[in-house]
């Protein structure tokens, strides 16, 4: 056991580091807010990376990728973080992590060649149009309709929780094309230009003040049958692959103790590190954060050995979100009445945790709720039986519906 690169990895890292030193933009404004970035600067950097084989490293060269391995992709990310340019990747995270891979996995070579390279270069950005207000965790409960009209399909309905819809060029959408069969059987997937007439985008205001998610309304939006990504009424299998990508993560912070050390610093500043009640909690948080970090390293170890990582990564998001909620609660309490103040001029430390305490509830929900993630671990990892399902056999339009 060690934490070293293999000789090949070390050579790759050295090359990447050197390239970054020579090419990476300096003095990127460092915002902790995922929604803040300079889109043009990001696009310029993405194109430059693509030319050098550092954009979407695991893709083939003809797709604008690097023809590399997953571990190389991880190494390059680490080096980007070291060079302080990670935030330039923000607009492409979903596009290149989820949406475009889903499209490319399901279309013919011609369409692949049309979309892959502009996507890898950041010239075209893709969003994901899956969730709906009535669906939530029940992702297959799609009500957005697509109705055939000659060579076209007419889409009507509403999507929600679409990140970055306002700056995206294309989207991958799942629609209901047959409501008379059980719900998983009547879905079809399309790609759609976000400039198509009839698409309206409205940002969602979150309790934390953030508004990176959007509602996207479709009113008589016309797409050609050539934009179909799945077979007619067979979109569910394709979308499942996408969800698996979304819910997995190789995670945990990169620094020892992760964000538990922010609470440590707060307590240090308040002169409260002697408080044994806090010390016990800090130790628990630290050990949990480290457990996630080392779990991530175990996943990387598998990649480095050319193996497929085990299912352990499935614990990351649920642990992180609940840890965050617990820590920020306590961080406010540590400051007593001052914990109220959400004003960085008066109490910079508090304002930091104030934001997190308002953000944590969303973390426990977005990208798979605690409950769904526990189901996934129990069913897919531990092999326990699924819940009794009443929605697998009834036609979709006969299922009971609520709000």
């Amino acid at each position: 056991m060690d934490f070293e690169d293999t000789p090949e990895e070390a050579a790759y890292r050295l090359k990447a580091r050197k390239w970054l030193e020579e090419n990476a933009p300096k003095n990127i404004a460092d915002s902790s807010d995922d929604e803040i970035f300079d889109l043009q600067a990001c696009k310029a950097w993405q194109a430059k990376k693509s030319d050098a084989g550092y954009a979407k490293i695991t893709w083939p060269k003809e797709w604008g990728g690097g023809a590399g391995t997953t571990i190389q992709s991880v190494i390059f990310s680490q080096e980007e973080a070291r060079a302080g340019v990670s935030s330039l990747n923000r607009p492409f995270a979903i596009s290149l992590g989820i949406s475009l891979p889903s499209v490319l996995a399901n279309v013919n070579e011609e369409t692949q060649l049309r979309f892959a390279k502009p996507g890898a270069r950041g010239e075209e950005i893709w969003c994901q149009l899956f969730s709906e207000p009535s669906g939530g965790s029940d992702v297959a409960g799609i009500r957005t309709r697509a109705v055939k009209d000659g060579d076209d399909w007419i889409i009507n309905g509403q999507k929600i929780w679409t990140s970055g819809a306002h700056y995206c060029d294309y989207g991958i959408i799942i629609t209901r094309t047959n409501p008379d069969v059980p719900k998983h059987a009547g879905l079809t997937m399309f790609w759609v230009s976000m400039k198509t007439p009839g698409i309206e985008i409205r940002p969602i205001h979150q309790m934390s003040g953030a508004s990176g998610f959007n509602e996207v309304f479709f009113t008589d939006v016309r797409v050609n049958d050539s934009q179909r990504v799945s077979e007619v009424n067979d979109g569910w299998a394709a979308s499942i692959r996408t969800l698996m990508v979304e819910r997995a993560s190789v995670g945990g912070g990169d620094t020892p103790g992760g964000s538990s050390m922010n609470v440590y610093k707060l307590a240090h500043e308040l002169g409260m590190l002697d408080d044994r009640a806090l010390r016990e909690k800090l130790a628990d948080w630290y050990a949990t954060s480290e457990g996630l970090r080392f779990t991530g390293m175990r996943m990387l170890t598998a990649l480095s050995r050319g193996q497929i990582p085990g299912p352990e990564g499935s614990i990351t998001k649920i642990v992180l979100a609940n840890l965050e909620q617990d820590m920020t609660l306590q961080a406010l309490e540590l400051q007593d009445q001052f914990g109220l103040i959400n004003d960085s001029r008066i109490s910079p430390l508090t304002a930091l945790f104030q934001q997190s305490v308002l953000g944590a509830p969303g973390m426990r929900i977005a990208g798979g709720t605690d409950e769904i993630l526990r189901n996934v671990i129990a069913e897919r990892v531990l092999g326990l039986p699924g819940d009794v399902r009443v929605d697998k056999t009834l036609p979709f339009n006969q299922l009971p519906k609520g709000v």
């Binding site: 965790s137 309790m207 406010l332 400051q335 109220l340 959400n342 004003d343 305490v357 929900i365 709720t369």
Partner: protein, 371 residues
């Protein structure tokens, strides 16, 4: 055994709930949330005053109704359930209670009738920094009846006409009444986690200050005021936590996933059962606090701490799990869950964090066991 409210008190509570359902609507709460310049709902405050609630526990001789604390607890629960955007706690639980505890007859005669009639908003300014209040930690001081120093956060400090201020008088912590409309008072509204309840930083530069109680009695009085306020705030918390459970329940019945009401899944129903459990414990502890407050029992410090610890835990759990039960909509600005989440934090912090009260409770147990 009689650990429950009387039928009359329950009726008062029902009426308060109906009244606030109409007067403290979510639209009103949101009008304060969304308007940065609005620190409270003035119309609501006036209508609360017109109900006579401000004088519920103020004796008749000082212009109140003289009903008693049990009635005030009933009203507090409904104020909490309605997350009313009004300076009820600051004015009644803190300002009025300070006067009732330590005021001279002249002081009571001057201020209490104004409170009962709704003319005067009061606030309580003890905190300057996180941590315990001691002569050494208090920077504010009074010399020759002139107050100098900073206080923050002061809940409702930006809208109150008068404040109870803790300051050193010749090095001894002492309470003072300060007219905030007088000279030498600078107020600055603070952003807080709950914009529906305002808070301010108050800076005093030789502001006129009138002593309340004896010199050197300040810290002890603050503790006694906090004990009393903690019980009343616990009722607000119980009301809010109950409302969260009700919201979560309604959503769990109305929302379907995988063809079933989400309330039929154990992950949801067991969470709601846990909310119920915590709410029952909190309510029972609050009732004991109400008894101790109403009878001014020697058990009040223990009862207040138990009520505050239990109610803070219940409201936190109910507020955060109400959001979780609502799923994606739960963390949006447009759905109301976050209003209760914010208020749960505000109420848990304004009278000292639960961690401080846990320590106080064990200290009281030590005192009792030593006796």
């Amino acid at each position: 055994m009689n650990l429950d409210f009387s039928d009359e008190q329950k009726q008062l509570k029902d009426e308060a709930r109906k009244f606030l359902d109409n007067e403290s609507t979510i639209a009103r709460v949101r009008s304060v949330l969304n308007d940065e310049k609005k620190s409270f709902d003035e119309e609501l405050w006036k209508s609360i005053g017109a109900q006579g609630w401000l004088g519920a526990a103020i004796p008749e001789e000082y212009g109140g109704l003289g009903l008693g604390y049990l009635e005030l607890c009933c009203i507090a629960e409904e104020i909490g359930r309605a997350i009313a955007p009004a300076p009820f706690a600051s004015t009644i639980y803190f300002f009025a209670e300070a006067l009732l505890l330590a005021g001279s007859d002249a002081q009571k005669k001057k201020y209490l009738p104004q409170i009962a009639s709704g003319e005067l908003i009061g606030c309580f300014a003890a905190s300057e920094a996180p941590g315990a209040l001691t002569a050494a930690s208090i920077g504010a001081k009074v010399e020759g009846e002139k107050l100098t120093g900073e206080k923050l956060p002061v809940v409702d400090g930006d809208i109150a006409q008068a404040a109870i201020v803790l300051a050193n008088d010749g090095g001894k912590p002492t309470l003072f009444i300060v007219d905030l409309s007088g000279a030498g008072v600078l107020r600055e509204t603070l952003n807080t986690i709950d914009p529906t309840r305002s808070a301010a930083k108050l800076t005093f530069s030789a502001a006129s200050a009138e002593r309340l109680g004896s010199a050197g009695e300040g810290v002890e009085l603050v503790e006694r005021i906090l004990d009393r306020a903690a019980v009343l705030i616990a009722f607000e918390q119980v009301g809010g936590a109950d409302r969260c459970l009700q919201m979560a329940r309604e959503y769990a019945l109305a929302r379907y996933a995988f063809g079933r009401q989400i309330g039929s899944y154990q992950a949801i129903k067991h969470r709601l059962a846990d909310m119920y459990i915590k709410n029952v414990l909190a309510r029972s502890n609050a009732y004991y606090g109400a008894w101790a407050l109403n009878t001014n029992a020697p058990e009040l410090p223990i009862a207040a701490a138990g009520a505050r610890i239990s109610a803070s835990e219940a409201y936190w759990y109910a507020a955060k799990e109400n959001i979780q039960t609502h799923g994606g909509m739960g963390f949006t600005w447009e759905v109301d869950c976050h209003l209760y989440f914010r208020r749960s934090r505000q109420l848990a912090l304004i009278a000292g964090a639960p961690r401080v009260w846990k320590d106080r409770l064990v200290s009281q147990l030590e005192r009792r066991n030593a006796a």
